[in-house]
């Protein structure tokens, strides 16, 4: 894999490969257009010379070429600006297409990376990377990169033209240009500290505001509004100062370049005037020079900030490629599938060794068998890593050693997607997506009819909840804005699982955020679903635990004890301890 800036640039080029023609035309046209625009002032100078002759000749004879020359210059301008338009247009198309491809690939990537990646990268980070970095890349491709090239090209072309018109006057700019460039560099460097301070103050301000918003009720109930406002004003004020300071410092760039530019202009005016008197410069040459001087100021002023933009654009590109270079789950399309209808639901762990990080092994040689149709309760204090077993069953994480098998077949020999279809999973953090309630239930089985959806909802007992909503099954819900409570949401997810009708169930019994009646509904629905299915349940209720066929007791990430309730009570170990403390009044 190509690394570093050059590698990134080449790969970025790959994203434009399909639009290569558009991009090449854009560059070629831009170069030609710049040349036309750089040439025009020289000809405009000639125009002035013709007019001068006309005047000194007592208005007797205006050069025949006058009108032709005007037409030629007009042609140059029209060509130059049309070229700019074509190039702008092409690059807009190229950049949008390239970012679309990149966004698509990134999204595909997110569906292919191991769950580990998503577990270790907050979703907010990922989404902001895709947002901000892609926007930066879009602007890099659309204009930043090309503008930088054009600006450098224009500076060179204008200097060449200046030498052609008058080498002596050109020296003035040759001297002034590096001075101006260095000064801009100097200021930019100086402003970095101020900018950093501004950024960190913004961070502090946002952090504080977020904290207060999150704890809104608390702040109000304890009458902390004044204290909060005071602290807010203090940070807000500091931000004001940091911002003004930072912007003021960088605000020096513009006046400085303008002053330097004006100095060049003044020098040209004065020396040019001498030269005209001496007869070494024509009025036309003088005019052309003044125009070139003014033309230079644009690129000089923005080249530096443009360079920064290109730099941050390249950094964004590299960050995005970093995601694109993440390892994917290996392709298993060649592996055999699993006929879900024939799955009986026997599960076996044989000498399973696993750890989330290689340095810390959690499971070592764990073995146990689960009969088809039996219930396994996963039990342990909070933070014991009870979801690890689920992660392994579903192959969200891969084991280091040993085997996990379903109906005697090693799960690593089965196509991952097919394997997962044998399982139905209802976890505590019920995931709903933005869409209707019907859509969300139907996620369990593609193409489920409305009747089937309603039937599934009835099975888990959430039909009555849905029926009273104004739009019924067509009510829109989303993670952030839902009219349903946590318990009701979990019922929805259960209905989703009912629709999928899996042989093996994975349930999370956590009901701490539910009221008793919803909890009773959820519990009843879960019990109904468990009938005839192999079930792994993260259990909290003594009733569930006692009645499980097998109990897996976990602590500190490891499986400590496995067995039936009676076996474990006899063992008189950690489980027995916990059971006694839970059941004692």
């Amino acid at each position: 894999m190509a690394r570093g800036k050059r590698g990134s640039l080449r790969r970025l080029g790959g994203y434009m490969a399909k639009d290569r023609r558009l991009a090449i035309i854009a560059v070629v046209v831009m170069v030609l257009g710049s040349m036309a625009l750089a040439f025009a002032p020289k000809l405009a100078g000639n125009l002035i010379d013709m007019l001068t002759e006309y005047v000194t000749g007592g208005y007797a004879h205006l050069d025949d070429g006058f009108l032709t020359l005007i037409a030629v210059i007009a042609g140059l301008y029209v060509f130059g600006y049309c070229a700019t338009m074509v190039s702008n247009r092409n690059m807009i198309i190229v950049s949008r297409n390239a970012t679309q491809r990149m966004r698509r690939n990134l999204h595909n990537k997110l569906n292919r990376v191991p769950i580990r990646f998503l577990d270790t990268h907050p979703s907010g980070d990922i989404s902001s990377r895709l947002t901000n970095d892609l926007t930066t890349v879009e602007s890099l491709l659309e204009s930043d990169l090309l503008t930088l090239i054009v600006q450098v090209l224009l500076i060179v072309l204008i200097l060449i033209m200046m030498f052609i018109v008058n080498p002596a006057l050109a020296i003035i700019y040759i001297v002034l240009m590096p001075v101006s460039f260095l000064m801009i560099r100097y200021i930019t460097r100086k402003t970095k500290k101020g900018f950093k301070l501004q950024q960190s103050t913004v961070g502090e301000l946002n952090g504080f505001m977020g904290d207060v918003l999150n704890n809104h009720t608390l702040v109000k109930a304890y009458g902390m509004e004044d204290v909060s406002e005071e602290r807010f004003s203090e940070i807000n004020g500091r931000f004001h100062r940091a911002y003004v300071r930072s912007k003021f410092a960088s605000g020096f760039i513009m006046p400085l370049t303008l002053i330097i530019n004006n100095i060049g202009y003044i020098c040209v005016s004065i020396f040019g005037a001498y030269m005209i008197i001496e007869g070494t410069l024509t009025l036309g040459g003088f005019t052309a020079f003044l125009l070139y001087g003014q033309m230079l100021s644009g690129p000089l002023q923005s080249a530096s900030s443009n360079m920064n933009q290109v730099q941050s654009g390249m950094a964004a590109v590299e960050r995005l490629f970093e995601i694109l270079d993440e390892d994917e789950e290996p392709d298993e399309s060649g592996l055999p599938g699993l006929d879900v209808s024939k799955v009986e639901g026997g599960v076996a762990f044989r000498d399973v060794t696993f750890g989330y990080v290689p340095e810390r092994t959690l499971f070592r040689d764990v073995s146990f068998d689960v009969e088809p149709g039996s219930v396994v309760a996963i039990v342990g204090p909070s933070g014991a890593g009870k979801t690890t077993v689920i992660n392994l069953l579903m192959r969200f994480y891969e084991i280091y050693g040993g085997t996990i098998s379903v109906d005697g077949a090693d799960t690593r020999g089965i196509n991952r997607d097919a394997l997962r279809k044998a399982f139905g999973m209802v976890l505590q953090d019920s995931w709903v997506f933005e869409g209707t309630i019907a859509d969300n239930i139907a996620y369990g089985r593609m193409g489920a009819t409305r009747e089937e959806i309603v039937e599934a909802a009835r099975t888990v007992g959430c039909d009555s909840i849905i029926d009273v909503l104004p739009d019924g099954y067509d009510t829109y819900i989303s993670e952030e804005n839902s009219q349903l409570s946590v318990g009701e949401m979990q019922l929805l997810i259960l209905a989703r699982a009912v629709l999928a009708d899996p042989r093996i169930l994975i349930l999370d019994e956590a009901t701490s955020n539910m009221d008793t009646r919803t909890e009773a509904l959820v519990t009843k629905a879960m019990e109904r679903m468990m009938e005839g299915r192999t079930t792994f349940i993260i259990a909290h209720r003594l009733f569930t635990i006692r009645n499980a066929d097998k109990i897996i007791f976990m602590k500190d990430g490891d499986i400590k004890e496995v067995g039936s309730h009676d076996q474990l009570m006899e063992l008189d170990g950690l489980y027995a301890d916990m059971y006694r403390s839970m059941s004692s009044p």
Binding site: Y77, G124, L213, P255, I259, S269, T287
Partner: protein, 576 residues
């Protein structure tokens, strides 16, 4: 928009005026420098007067220095103004949000309020900075150039005016057309990003159902739509600047052509024409800001509207003290009198016709299912909500007639959602009050947070992570309880805040709290009967109404719903 400008921009009219003066000065000086060249050509070169040229050079340098100085001032003032305006806006936004009731708050939602406080204010700031620093120049240069040109030659000035009108009207028309397009594109981008976040969070479910391909296709459709629309919007304005520049340059050529005729009639000189040429070049250099304005203006307008929505929102709970205080000898600590509450747009009231009297010094519990309205009800005591019907009396006085600050200072409220400030443990318990450290420690001991505290590196001075991420849910609840009992109040409200504690801890903590709050009025909202069975009085609520009120034993005998709840809990972990 008008009100916003009046409130936040107009107050700075003095600074804006100063800024305007310096922008005008800047333009004047630049034009003056250009016309000095004109003078050099006319006075110096024509008369071969070296002295004149030298003097002109000196004048130009002096003017350039003042010119530079005025740009520095403009850039300072624009930074100052944009920062001041946005800081004012942010401050008022924050203040307004502080007055929001629970209802107002959930109307907007925490995340959009945060976006308004951050992204929207920043957008205004950036726009203002550039508008004041660069865009303001454009109209002033236009006016100045028209005046300067008119003083030289009217025909050529007319050409210039026509060119200005053409370019400016084209820009205005096109940017107006593209504004809604840019809004749409922005919305599509937001949707794409929400989608990415949503899918990253749901990765396990998506994979469990093997829906990757389906998700990919759905995303690609949206992505394609976004590409089309964003290309269309960008193309709409990408021609603007080149066309404007072309028009201006062609106008110059027209000036040459017409000039060649006027030259003969001695209406103009060649140096005048050179000056015209330079005027136009100067104008062109000012146009560089236009694409920025065109693309950001629509977004800024939207942001401003979003800010106005919050800043000028009338909160539903207002502090309107009537100068009354609760009487000390009133035996009824809190009375709900025919209280109802309905969420806007909801068909049914969340709380209807509730009548409860809570005697001073007693413990009253409220129990019921989710949606029974119990939490909404108790939040009306510290006026996090105001009832839509009936009234709440505090010590015999309607809570709405009291000063809201005084009211809240007499209540210690522990919310259902445990909250932890990103501050020290001490600050989290003391909550801005001047409480001795020993008292804070004692409170922590009673709620068994001291167990956690012992393991913290800096004890009471340990800073809690945002949202209390460095402790577990149960530990957060212990901290929240410590905060509540540490407060010296008349009434203590516990809104279902024992749920994350294990049975043993809960029992101990509850016992400690009962001792500590002996003789105080306590309201306890709960879902578990075990939490509240010892209460002096238990109110059972269902679907927003009071079903029955009585002691545990009474209710067990007579209240069906209470029995039902009791039955479902009798075999559950942590039960009796």
């Amino acid at each position: 928009m008008r009100r916003f400008l009046k409130d936040y921009v107009v107050p700075y009219w003095k600074q804006i005026l100063v800024l305007l003066v310096f922008v005008v000065l800047q333009v004047y000086l630049q034009l003056q420098v250009l016309s000095e060249t004109h003078a050099i050509l006319n006075g110096g070169v024509a008369n071969q007067d070296m002295g004149f040229i030298k003097d002109a050079g000196v004048r130009m340098i002096l003017m350039t220095l003042v010119y530079g100085l005025s740009i520095v001032l403009v850039s300072y003032l624009s930074a100052y103004l944009s920062a001041s305006v946005t800081c004012d806006v942010r401050r008022d936004l924050f203040k307004r949000i502080m007055t929001f009731s629970q209802k107002d708050f959930s109307r907007f939602g925490g995340s959009t309020l945060m976006t308004r406080l951050t992204a929207d204010t920043t957008r205004i700031q950036i726009f203002m900075l550039n508008a004041l620093r660069n865009a303001l120049l454009v109209p002033i240069v236009i006016v100045a150039l028209v005046i300067a040109a008119a003083m030289i030659n009217l025909t050529l000035c007319a050409v210039l005016v026509v060119a200005f009108v053409v370019t400016i009207s084209m820009m205005v028309v096109k940017s107006r057309q593209s504004m809604p397009m840019f809004n749409e594109v922005q919305e599509e981008l937001d949707t794409l990003n929400t989608l990415v976040k949503e899918k990253a969070e749901g990765a396990r479910t998506i994979r469990a159902f093997g829906r990757q391909q389906y998700e990919i296709e759905r995303f690609n459709d949206l992505n394609e739509e976004f590409r089309k629309d964003s290309t269309r919007a960008a193309l709409k304005i990408c021609y603007l600047t080149p066309i404007a520049l072309m028009v201006m340059n062609l106008a110059v050529l027209l000036i040459y052509y017409l000039g060649s005729v006027e030259l003969q009639e001695r209406l103009i000189t060649i140096s005048d024409m050179i000056l015209f040429f330079q005027y136009v070049t100067y104008f062109i250099s000012c146009l560089a800001i236009v694409p920025f304005i065109v693309t950001t203006l629509p977004k800024t307008v939207v942001s401003t509207a979003r800010l106005e929505e919050v800043i000028y929102y009338d909160p539903t709970v207002v502090n309107d003290p009537k100068g009354v205080s609760p009487s000390a000898d009133c035996d009824e600590a809190i009375v709900f009198e025919d209280v109802s509450y309905g969420y806007a747009g909801a068909a049914k009231d969340a709380v209807s016709d509730v009548d409860i009297t809570i005697r001073k010094g007693t413990t009253t519990a409220i129990i019921g299912a989710t949606g029974s309205g119990k939490s909404t009800l108790v939040q009306m005591v510290p006026r996090l909500f105001d009832p839509t019907g009936g009234r709440v009396l505090f010590g015999g006085v309607d809570v709405r007639d009291m000063d809201i600050g005084e009211l809240r200072s007499r209540i210690a409220y522990a919310s259902q959602r445990t909250m932890v400030l990103e501050d020290t443990v001490y600050a989290n318990v003391a909550m801005g009050a001047d409480v001795p450290r020993e008292d804070v420690e004692a409170a922590c001991r009673l709620t068994m947070f001291s167990e956690v505290l012992e393991r913290m590196p800096d004890g009471l001075d340990t800073v809690m992570a945002r949202g209390g991420m460095n402790v577990s849910g149960g530990q957060k609840q212990r901290l929240s309880l410590a905060r509540t009992i540490c407060r010296d109040a008349d009434v203590y409200v516990f809104d279902d805040c024992f749920s994350a504690l294990d049975a043993k801890t809960e029992r101990t903590v509850r016992e400690n709290i009962r001792e500590r709050l002996a003789g105080k009025t306590v309201i306890m909202v709960a879902q578990k009967i075990s939490t509240i069975r010892d209460a002096d009085s238990i109110v059972v609520m269902d679907k927003g109404r009071v079903v029955q009120q009585g002691t545990h034993e009474e209710l067990l005998e007579t209240c069906e719903i209470y029995r039902e709840i009791h039955a479902t809990q009798s075999y559950a972990g942590g039960g009796e």
